[in-house]
Subunit: 436 residues, 3 copies
């Protein structure tokens, strides 16, 4: 394999050098000081920048951007060489142009390729590369890019060609992000969750404590979470399908689909996937918290108390058929709803969504999604139905938490019903097909 | 970035133009009417076809196939240009040749590239591209293809090179499909499910109503589904491994593996994955429906009735050890079987199956698959065992549903046992290694 | 499509030929005997090696490596041709150089491309290609590689370019492996599992049998597994994070990160993913085995016995609030721990880990991982807490199994607490940034 030159004997330079030597590439370092420290890989040569550059066709610039200007002095030596810019910044869009474009401006005679910046020095060294096996590459010179991609493959990594050097900005921003799309949904659910939690605490623990003088503070561990989680799940699930409703109304009102939606709606529509997955997470928690109920000390205590009191009164209740029907059907609806919900989740795994086409994906996400929403809403309606008109359900005149949770999904389902009426659907379809 | 020309100011043309302008490509439209409507992206120019074509090297033909013939008049202008055919048809294999090949025949001097047809206009505009991030590209001219792939990358999408223009037919058919491989398995399970459902209804609800005068209609919500789902799961699971058995017998009988299987067997073998996943879905439903049992009003009613009647009779039963053994072991077998079943499911996620090799995949699918089948069959055998010889189990002389469910898996397991006998396995192995 | 030549009419040669003819490639075989057997695809020609080679630009060598030397005689005919080496060996690293490199040495005038060896003959024929849809290709000549990749695409498979011919060794070893990374973790957990199982058997079944004369042998089906599984899960989970602790201590002690870790630590760190997934599998089994408890015959027997005895004594116990708190909180902690655990599992699916960056991946694996470990450890501590100081818990002076299971995670958590103290963390961070 051909010699590779690395400028800079810092953390990343050394790690990359180690890996290259392991993979059979002769490595020569270009450094300000040519003293060989014992940190530098044993089989590597360390020379001055100019000499090192002459020994290789590909030069990896493992130096921070702010020191790049010293390279202009080497412009002659670097002429025609492939320079690999591996630098990252500390902030998103820190500089007006990307580091790679800046390097290309400094050295117009060299072929600049961006790459390797998404790989961590530690991952390279320790071999635990799971999240950085893909190396994004971009550059204007096709052959230079090909050379760098071969090196990437030689190191056992997967090169991903991102096109021309214009993509460098994006590639540089990539490793600085921490779940950018998840931020809003997570904060929203945190806020909503806290609200629901205290609402429940007041109604279930504090109210009982004040009026019935019962200390049910241990409800905080399971009972209250198991009211908050499903309420969150249902509300967020509704919020996934609400923006689609707004979009349809706006399109109908405007009579065209070619004007941009208001900004908030745009953003909202783009984080529906995240909202949906968070809703799924809460639904899964609800399912597990519910299934665990029979194991609770509280459950066995209340069951045995009830049975014993019946036994002591010599009394056996007949089976209440209506109740059995209602109870079984809300459970069945909940489970079926959850099942379809999980299918939505599975289909949003990147590898699954990549292997279905747009029509299939929309069938799952839109048709099955509404089916799941209907099932879940029905689950809660049947579970809570008999209490809606019962004043006892309204402690301190406040509605129960599941009534709050029903608001958004019910709105969504009702408006959606209107939208699929033929007289509304027809013009909408035309608008969506691009008609004026 | 270089100017791109789009022929056709229809829905797709506009959506693509919007996106291109956003991504920094100058866009010029070629249209029959050069009047600028306000639907067309603001920064785009609209010209006649010939003038527009001259301004760009890449021309995207956003026009339906049936109007292509007008392009022959522009043959001169289009000579040497890269034409991107993005058209879809309304039906699978609507025309004898693909649209792209038709275009290439019309304009032999131009370089035709197929692409973008799997992307939806709406997805492009709204940015929700999950299932259409991959843009399949094919074409005979490598450089033309490279140019189009760079544009694809420039728009933030992932080009997937599908080879020469011969692949156009396949690419054009792709977006028209709606789960083609799932159709048969789904109809099969619908049919089977309905049969099992009514069978159960008759035995559990109608029979009880007639002979015991008990109204157990609420069993429709949970009890009956929880007999139908596992029966479906087990039968379909058996049907996954049955074709392999047939294949082996046919190969043994013919003494060669080089003659095609009968058509029905071929099709059956190709939809085993789908059958297996549907079986898994039913098994998961069975698991959840089972775990929810203790929460049912009916369960708490029957438990308390039983306990109270024992208490009133002053009687406590001793623990029946045989029953405890049987009960615990069928539950344990069911859970272990389900566990291995889920592993099969996980390993058939595209990203997981891509990262194991053929030997590993077959180990999971074939070895672990049979293990799961054995565990699940044993689960049902032990659960139902004591009833097989009990005439009471046969209401109206009909076998119980789980007895029906056992038929297919038991056949599979018995024949498989024969097939792995050394005296049968040896010739079979030779046949499979290509011997005559 | 262009004619392809295949040398060798064996199993693989025929299967590939069939597939190629199906996909529209004219096929000509080069064979020692030009008699057409009826195993050979109908539309293929069979010629002598030299004649066959002249008819095509690409020649697929479907012959075992040991017979390659006869090809030297054909060196003239094969000059300039693309030879595709598809051979596999029987053992890992059987020969000093890879088969493809050996072929290239034999025929220096030909362009050798390695490929197709990961595809199974049977998969090709039967169309069930799930785990061998990716065809790894390598070779020194870019154009030759491109030609082979086009054929791969033409067959409906996905070529994956692995770079120069140096990658052939790796590609040849790939299909011989059977979960190499999983071996150690699986043996470890088998050993540990057996130990825990017999330990539990002794304490729960044999001890009870000897001292209380109770036959609880049926505990082997559910109760004992449900002590072994969670203990395994917790111990393995601890073992996932233990090597990181060792690594930190070693780095602190050495003052540098550039010296290799001892070999055992290196290996251990590289199989943490597998250890973690096995831990997850055991945790899932624990969850399901726990949730199924209320369905056990033993549970309903012991519940009703307890209730009846209370009823017969006319006695109802009040709710023990402390117990309710402890019970609910250990359950809640277990469920939350399991939930985060499953998130770790989901994020290690290849397609998910590929779509997050290194920072995000480490956030999930390291931060959320420790969170899950804390939750699970707290779950067990609270569940078992009251027994630690109770001599009754120590049958035969042996600690209970969950006490053993707590050892590793508790050590990990305590040492980690020390490591994140600012006075330790600061120098560690510097070392990790590459400082001396
Ligand atoms: C568990 C879970 C996982 C999810 N995963 C994903 C995911 O991976 N990816 C993802 O994107 N979403 C995901 N979601 C979110 C959600 O399911 C989808 O966004 C879904 O497509 C929304 O359906 P819809 O019918 O409301 O929206 P849309 O189909 O977007 O419809 C909304 C509105 O957009 C307009 N519109 C729709 N189609 C067209 C068209 N062809 N032309 C013009 N205008 C049109 C209409 O006005 C329509 O009313 C997930 C949700 C959940 C619960
Ligand atoms: C949950 C679940 C998920 C599944 N996912 C998938 C999936 O992703 N992909 C998939 O393909 N299937 C999947 N399946 C289906 C099934 O597991 C596999 O098809 C499995 O390989 C069948 O095993 P088998 O031993 O019966 O079949 P095979 O190994 O195909 O054997 C069947 C017959 O084919 C012949 N045969 C087998 N090997 C050879 C050989 N080397 N040479 C010549 N002849 C041979 C023999 O006659 C053999 O008897 C799934 C099933 C389930 C339950
Ligand atoms: C369900 C499950 C799934 C898992 N899936 C995966 C998976 O897919 N891939 C995977 O790799 N692991 C996986 N794991 C294992 C585990 O979660 C990870 O390895 C995790 O990163 C370990 O975290 P840590 O903080 O101990 O390790 P590390 O972050 O590796 O830290 C260990 C030590 O390495 C050194 N170190 C860490 N970072 C640096 C640095 N930047 N520079 C120098 N030295 C450094 C330090 O000395 C540190 O103490 C999985 C675990 C579980 C339970
Ligand atoms: N560390 C990572 O995990 C990682 C990952 C991806 C990308 N990167 C990028 O890699 C680059 C280097 O990072 P690093 O962690 O290796 O930094 P570092 O350890 O600080 O090393 C920087 C090296 O640059 C050279 N240098 C410093 N000042 C210079 C100057 N004035 N003139 C010329 N050379 C100078 C020095 O090498 P000599 O002493 O040999 O001259 C020094 O060792 C950064 O741009 C970073 O964004 C790092
Ligand atoms: N819509 C999608 O989601 C989508 C997705 C993928 C592929 N496609 C494909 O894109 C193509 C166009 O679809 P579309 O939805 O944009 O259709 P459209 O809205 O009907 O637009 C078609 C355009 O073609 C031009 N045109 C029509 N008749 C013509 C004629 N006789 N001669 C010359 N030009 C004519 C018109 O443009 P001028 O008035 O400017 O001349 C018209 O706007 C189709 O082949 C379709 O399969 C569409
Ligand atoms: N079978 C698979 O699933 C599979 C998968 C991947 C790779 N491979 C590789 O493909 C290669 C062939 O495997 P196979 O299963 O096809 O083996 P096979 O059935 O034994 O066929 C080998 C063929 O090589 C030819 N041959 C044998 N001895 C020869 C000699 N002394 N001189 C010249 N030609 C000779 C023969 O063809 P003629 O009689 O026509 O001359 C024979 O049919 C092996 O390297 C194997 O590793 C096989
Ligand atoms: C109530 C709990 C519900 C659990 C549901 C499990 C259902 C499994 C059904 C899979 C349906 C897949 C739809 C695929 C769409 C498609 O066409 O997808 C097409 C793709 C691509 O296929 P091809 O490329 O082969 O054509 O197929 C797949 O990706 C298969 C995905 C399999 C997923 C299995 C996941 C298992 C995870 C199990 C979790 C179980 C938890 C159990 C808890 C109790
Ligand atoms: C009874 C419920 C059972 C739940 C089972 C969870 C088991 C997790 C065990 C994972 C086994 C993976 C086999 C991989 C084969 C392989 O080598 O695969 C190899 C691949 C590739 O690895 P490399 O590329 O790193 O080598 O590894 C993987 O893909 C890892 C897959 C991880 C999957 C985790 C999925 C979590 C989903 C959890 C659902 C939980 C539901 C719980 C309900 C109660
Ligand atoms: C207690 C049981 C817990 C079950 C937990 C289900 C949680 C689902 C939450 C998903 C979280 C995903 C984190 C993704 C990180 C990320 O940014 O990931 C980013 C990626 C890529 O996204 P983009 O490329 O679109 O940006 O997103 C994903 O991959 C989404 C993964 C979805 C996974 C859904 C899996 C469903 C399987 C369900 C099993 C349910 C079992 C139920 C048993 C009772
Ligand atoms: C496995 C599937 C499910 C089961 C077994 C289940 C079971 C239950 C049960 C038993 C209750 C009553 C709880 C109580 O009395 O306190 C309940 C309530 C509820 N469920 Fe579910 N459910 C499931 C899925 C879902 C899903 C997917 C959603 C929504 C997305 C949901 C939303 C709700 C809501 C909002 C409540 C009312 C909470 C309250 O008591 O205030 N459930 N569910
Ligand atoms: C979590 C795992 C599982 C558990 C806890 C479980 C539990 C049970 C229980 C309690 C029953 C008795 C139901 C009744 O009395 O009505 C049952 C029956 C049955 N199970 Fe399972 N099971 C599991 C997994 C499976 C799997 C994976 C299959 C098959 C693929 C399966 C197939 C069956 C069948 C066919 C029956 C008979 C249904 C009937 O009553 O007619 N089970 N299971
Ligand atoms: C769905 C989540 C979980 C639930 C419902 C759950 C429930 C339980 C229950 C009820 C017990 C007491 C069993 C008994 O008394 O015999 C227990 C014990 C235990 N759990 Fe969990 N758990 C969960 C998750 C986990 C996880 C994720 C781990 C560890 C990784 C874990 C580790 C343990 C251990 C070590 C024990 C002690 C086993 C023994 O009795 O010796 N659990 N769990």
């Amino acid at each position: 394999r051909e010699t590779v030159c690395i400028f800079g004997t810092g953390d990343f330079g050394r790690a990359l050098g180690h890996k290259m030597i392991q993979s059979g590439y002769p490595v020569v370092y270009g450094s300000r000081s040519t003293q060989i420290s014992n940190l530098i890989p044993k089989d590597a040569e360390v020379l001055g920048h100019a000499e090192a550059a002459q020994k290789a066709a590909v030069i990896i610039i493992a130096i921070q951007r702010q020191y790049y200007n010293f390279l202009t002095k080497l412009a002659d030596v670097l002429h025609g060489k492939v320079l690999v810019d591996i630098s990252n910044n500390l902030k998103l869009n820190q500089y007006p142009e990307s580091n790679a474009e800046y390097l290309a401006q400094l050295l117009p005679g060299s072929k600049v390729v961006k790459g390797f910046n998404t790989v961590s020095a530690w991952a390279l060294q320790s071999g635990t590369l799971d999240a950085s096996r893909q190396v994004f590459i971009c550059g204007d010179d096709v052959e230079a890019k090909q050379m760098v991609m071969n090196i990437v493959r030689g190191l056992g990594l997967t090169p991903v060609d991102k096109g021309s050097l214009l993509a460098a900005q994006e590639i540089e921003n990539y490793p600085l992000q921490l779940f950018p799309m998840w931020k809003f949904p997570i904060f929203l659910s945190l806020g909503l969750g806290l609200f629901f939690f205290f609402y429940c605490l007041v109604l279930d623990v504090i109210y009982t404590y004040i009026y019935e003088n019962n200390d049910f503070s241990f409800f905080i561990a399971i009972s209250i979470p198991n009211q908050v989680f499903p309420a969150m799940a249902l509300t967020l699930f509704g919020l996934v399908y609400l923006p689609g409703i707004f979009a349809a109304i706006i399109q109908l009102y405007r009579g065209t689909k070619y004007r941009r939606f208001p900004d908030w709606l745009d953003k909202w529509m783009l984080c529906r996937k995240q909202l949906g997955l968070i809703a799924l997470a809460f639904a899964a928690l609800h399912a597990v918290f519910t299934l665990v109920t029979p194991l609770r000390a509280f459950t066995s205590w209340s069951t045995s108390t009830k049975i014993i009191s019946q036994a002591l009164n010599n009394q056996t209740e007949p089976l209440d058929h209506t109740n059995a029907w209602l109870n079984d059907s809300y459970l069945a609806l909940g489970m079926l709803g959850f099942f379809v919900f999980v299918l939505l989740g599975i289909s949003s795994l990147p590898s699954v969504s990549n292997s279905v086409n747009w029509r299939e994906f929309r069938f799952i996400q839109s048709k099955l999604g509404y089916l799941a929403l209907i099932l879940c809403t029905a689950h809660v309606l049947i579970h809570g139905g008999k209490w809606f008109l019962n004043p006892e359900a309204y402690k301190w005149y406040l509605p129960n938490i599941y009534m709050l949770a029903l608001v958004v999904p019910c709105i969504v389902l009702v408006v959606k019903c209107v939208l699929i009426l033929p007289c509304v659907d027809k013009p909408l379809t035309k608008i969506r097909q691009g008609w004026e």
